[in-house]
Symmetry: C2
Subunit: 197 residues, 2 copies
């Protein structure tokens, strides 16, 4: 399956590379590729510059479309060209996964209307303000509603990705993937931490 990872300036490093580590190791099942609005190098303030292909190449959808979070989402929710591309690709993709504030971008497309979703609890109020038609699930660490998987902050994206593998390949397969990277997978969807501030 083709895993298309969305990048934009100021994406959150681990929102992207946690799931990439998990999918990337499973070479017989998944092929990871990075995309951005214009293609080329995409930068974030952790000093990372990653090469990407233009989103225009996958307007017909991918098998799995992953939308990370990060400070860049604050700007990109108002980027109508990008939101329209995300809408088209998501509509034509078999699965759409969001990590952290990536759900704000997906919410802006309208595709989460009437669906259950979650996000980083420290950015919860801002994300919720992007759409009042989504059933925002505050206590969830990650949610599944049809083809849409959404998760809380950073590491929760790895937990969701392992949950996605469990749904597709069985829980033992997912546990083995976690074991191989010595990762303590929190398997339960519920029970996210509440914000301290």
């Amino acid at each position: 399956m083709h895993v298309g990872i969305l990048l934009f300036e100021e994406f959150e490093t681990l929102d992207v590379f946690g799931p990439v580590e998990i999918f990337g190791r499973l070479k017989t099942h998944y092929l990871v590729c990075f995309y951005s609005e214009a293609g080329g190098l995409v930068h974030n303030s952790h000093g990372v510059d990653v090469l990407s292909r233009p989103l225009g190449e996958i307007m017909g959808g991918v098998d799995i479309f992953l939308i990370p979070g990060g400070y860049g989402t604050r700007k990109e929710v108002n980027n109508e060209v990008l939101i329209e591309m995300i809408r088209t690709i998501s509509e034509h993709s078999q699965y759409v996964l969001t990590v952290c504030t990536g759900s704000a971008l997906l919410a802006r497309t309208g595709l989460l209307d009437g669906k259950k979703a979650t996000t980083n609890k420290r950015a919860f109020d801002w994300v919720v303000s992007q759409s009042d038609k989504v059933f925002w699930d505050r206590p969830a660490r990650w949610t599944v509603d049809g083809k849409y998987y959404t998760s809380a902050g950073v590491s929760a994206g790895m937990d969701m990705t392992l949950g996605f593998l469990a749904d597709r390949h069985g829980v033992d397969f997912a546990r083995k993937s976690a074991w191989e990277i010595e990762y303590d997978w929190r398997e339960e969807k519920e029970g996210d931490m509440l914000p301290e501030n």
Copy 2:
């Protein structure tokens, strides 16, 4: 502090980007930069292409030099030019951190001779074969010996990085860093899983 991250072809994605997420968020304390033997884009089989600067720029050392693991280490242990660069940079750096099979590269420099170190247990015998002068600590999840921090596989590198923060800034600081990325930090150095095969 300047955090120099070593890249080489077929580095392990999360060995690099786990610590980068942790250091990268602490912008008032740490500045992350990527380096490779020749500079330029460095690729791995998870589909990642990251831009790097040439290692020649930091032959005088950095504050923190991080050496990741990955399949690429199998080739690079025999790359005498790279091993010599790693030796010089490590000698002149304040701290040297290795993740997973990154300790094989550091062991080849001789700088770990007489020192305690560890690595990924699934690659343990191969890493140990790189030097019989290192005190390889099999049960350890990560070790500290003077300025050298070495860790077991992938996620253990994040645990070690948080342990490094705890040593420098106190355990509450490190716990807050883990909390911010919703990461379950395993704080204990000992008790690594043993290999199943």
